[in-house]
Amino acid sequence: MRRLCGVVLLIVAALLLAQADIPVKVTLTMMVAGDQNMVDFFQYEIAPEFEKLYPNVKVKVVGTGPGDAGSQQIIQQLQLEKDSGKDKWAIDLVVIHEAGTIWGIERGLIRQYTDFLTTRRLVTMKTAEVALGVNVDGYVMPMFHSQTAIAYNPRFVKDPPKSYAELVEWVKKNPKKFGYNGIKGGMSGVSFVFGWVYWKSKNPDVLMNGPFDEKYMEDWPQIYAELKEFNKYVTMTAGNAGTLDALNRGEIWMGPVWVDMFYTWIREGRMDPNIRLILPEPGMPGQPMYFAIPTKAANADYALKLIEFVTSPAVHAKYIVDKFNWYPAIGVEYVSPHLGKEVFERLYRDIKEADLLKFGKRMPIADYRTRMLEAYERWVEK
């Protein structure tokens, strides 16, 4: 009897051991805010590589679109999961904007996880700790940093304006040849508006770093009135991609774009390769995209592995910097050994690193940010 028991135990143990070696099939579902290039990045580049590394994992990428609307969709879905009271949520990983991260933390939809992330210590930017003036330390790992700039077509613009002030003069001479997308359909237009307010405001640093006080908003009506006047001379495009398309089609000669999208479009042949970039004085904001893990993600372990994978220096260099033209989220010293000189030359061709340090601004803190967007709706669009 005892021997039989022993044999059975042995078999069970053997089975369990064998089981441990065959990992369960997992579908890793991730929701990604941002333009199509973000979705392509995960679906066509990262997912195949990651699935090679972990053959039991299938990565499912769901794109939710650019701008705050894309982040809003993610938050709505996570809220639905939370309201359903389920123990395991269907979304394992999200890639989200700064604003979305803050909504997620406020509502308890994302969790702290970066203590378990080995690549977290490679991050040198402050964006891993603070987003829009809110402490997000522990909740997020930046995926990349990106910057907005003004693209111009040298065929028509021989001497591009080097500052917002010169731009205002330029549009008066070339009406309807500058285009941006307002504040809907993507962040490139939003960035342009924020840059405008920084330029005109007496306290741009307060807007970026706080503290929040309504007294710093006193000069806003005048600032937006001037923007409304400026808008009379510009073309309204349809979103981030709309500005790029209008540039490519020669319909506008200048417009604010995301640097990464701009270079990716050139690589794909969708953008006239003669078009150049300039970062005007006193600067325009950039932003990171964040990896975050939902509070009750069913496959948080694999989500963590995927984040590690994308932010590990070799992969980061090859895909984030080289292929997709984003600025790295981890320190440049960690990625540069994996990159050729020509990659950096391309990345910093038009906008030098020094320009980036001087004119690459931060987004305004959350309280000002919301009010700036509302002010635009109220005073400029109406």
Partner: protein, 271 residues
């Protein structure tokens, strides 16, 4: 002499008129046809600098485009099945049972097509969200079945009504049951109407955006939804390729079902 000059003038006028009509009606498709083959196309070149078949090959290759087309096809075929299956008995009842308030009842089914449907789909998506049917193919099939009932129901009702009652009565007098009469006489005679109805439903479902977007996206993307995202991202080539693929059945079937056309129910097509 003057007669001939007049006819030359008339001919020129006619050529110009044909050109203008072609430009107005066919022109919009020339643009997307060119885009679907373009690799590099920037101003001021009137035609693309480089051409490619890459985007067309995505229609036949495993990937986003093919997936969305297959999904749309599946949804459309399931919708046709459900819509016809529900419509046939109802159409027979409307044609043969002298139901009270027949016109009002029939009009009810037109409501999803002749009344703003967007708010209904938005709220349906919300209901489905609570039931876990969002991002699910069956959610879209259900919405499509509901909204396309009018096409199958109205066309089949009209067809059944056009079948002479005497034929059925003759069979009934010979002792056939109503069930038997339906399957041996009414239904076979009504098949053209059933097919026309099915084609209507199919075309509508293949091109439907509102329900597919609010119920399916972003989790599953039917061909129109993918076309919308591609076009919104100015991914002109992908959007144009899908647009052309989706247009083919519309143009083909138009000639098949032209004689069944009736304004009220085509009104819904495309919406």
């Amino acid at each position: 002499m003057s007669v001939r000059r007049f006819s030359i003038l008339k001919l020129t006028l006619k050529v110009v008129l044909v050109f203008i009509i072609l430009m107005l009606v066919v022109g919009p498709f020339v643009g997307i046809a060119i885009w679907s083959f373009a690799r590099v196309w920037y101003w001021p070149s009137p035609i693309p600098q480089e051409l490619t078949l890459r985007y067309w090959s995505e229609v036949f290759r495993q990937g986003r485009v093919l997936d969305s087309l297959i999904l749309s096809l599946k949804i459309a075929l399931l919708t046709v099945g459900f819509s016809i299956a529900i419509a046939i008995p109802a159409a027979y009842a409307f044609a043969r049972y002298r139901l009270p308030a027949e016109r009002i009842l029939l009009f009810l089914f037109l409501m999803p097509q002749a009344f703003p449907q967007l708010p209904v789909f938005i709220n349906l998506a919300r209901i489905f969200g609570k039931m876990g049917l969002r991002g699910n193919m069956w959610g879209i099939v259900m919405a499509h079945t509901m909204a396309s009932l009018v096409f199958s129901l109205w066309i089949i009702t009209a067809t059944f009504k056009s079948i002479p009652l005497e034929l059925e009565q003759a069979a009934q007098n010979l002792g056939a049951s109503r069930w038997r009469v339906f399957w041996t006489i009414t239904f076979p005679l009504g098949i053209p109407g059933v097919i026309a109805g099915a084609i209507h439903v199919f075309l509508w479902s293949m091109g439907e955006f509102n329900a597919a977007f609010f119920i399916g996206a972003p989790f599953i993307q039917t061909a129109p939804v993918l076309m919308y995202t591609a076009s919104a991202g100015y991914n002109m080539q992908i959007a144009s390729v899908i647009a052309i693929v989706l247009m083919i059945p519309s143009l083909l079937f138009m000639f098949v079902i032209e004689r069944f056309l009736k304004a009220e129910y085509i009104a819904g097509i495309g919406g």
